[in-house]
Symmetry: C2
Subunit: 140 residues, 2 copies
Amino acid sequence: MLKVTQHLFVFSLLFLGFVQCTSNTAQNNTSATTENTLDTRIIHTVIFSLKHEAGSPEERQFLDDARTILTAIPGVEEFEVRKQVSQKNEYQFGFSMKFADQQAYDKYNQHPEHIAFVEKRWKKEVTDFLEIDYEQMNLQ
Amino acid sequence: MLKVTQHLFVFSLLFLGFVQCTSNTAQNNTSATTENTLDTRIIHTVIFSLKHEAGSPEERQFLDDARTILTAIPGVEEFEVRKQVSQKNEYQFGFSMKFADQQAYDKYNQHPEHIAFVEKRWKKEVTDFLEIDYEQMNLQ
């Protein structure tokens, strides 16, 4: 009788583990499927040039600080620092980030850390820039 | 004795299922981690305006045809048709695509279908545009 009870106990543990594990796998698969559908987030990008010499510590410091400060602001998703490599325009760098919706984007713009970054760093170190925002179009 | 054998059989089946399931979950987690690492592909973007009336069938036809023609060219990855929504510039739309490397990008530029699209459609229907290309920077 003891042996059967032991078997039942181990059986139950494994069964629960299996159910939990299957549930996790199903969740992961759902995420993967979601990624393939239209992303409704707002894509906010800016291309810009810096007053600093190319490859200088000051240039690197600006990019590092921008990333640290801006990624800490709530609502900022998929922040990327990019080198602009087309010879068909003069800009050197780009930032790209995504916001869930206009409300999240507005909150970012109004956030004290964003305003402070623009006043203390952007206006002093950026020589030229262009903001471009996108929403994906559903042509299906 | 028969009961114990039955228990062992069910136990073994569940154990194998659990091991397989755990293995799948581990693989999914690995994929997720890979997605977070630096993407070394070239991001090719263009923002543009069309001569067509906003919301017209001609506008839609251009966007549809561009997507059909350009996504069929080898090497084009993650092609997106985007509406440009910032009021800080005058452009109406954007295309974004990725290439594995410069060679794939060059092949796209030289592809007969790309050249034909530029000559027959782009030059006739696009009134203004700016090309911007990026590579992600690794600031770690």
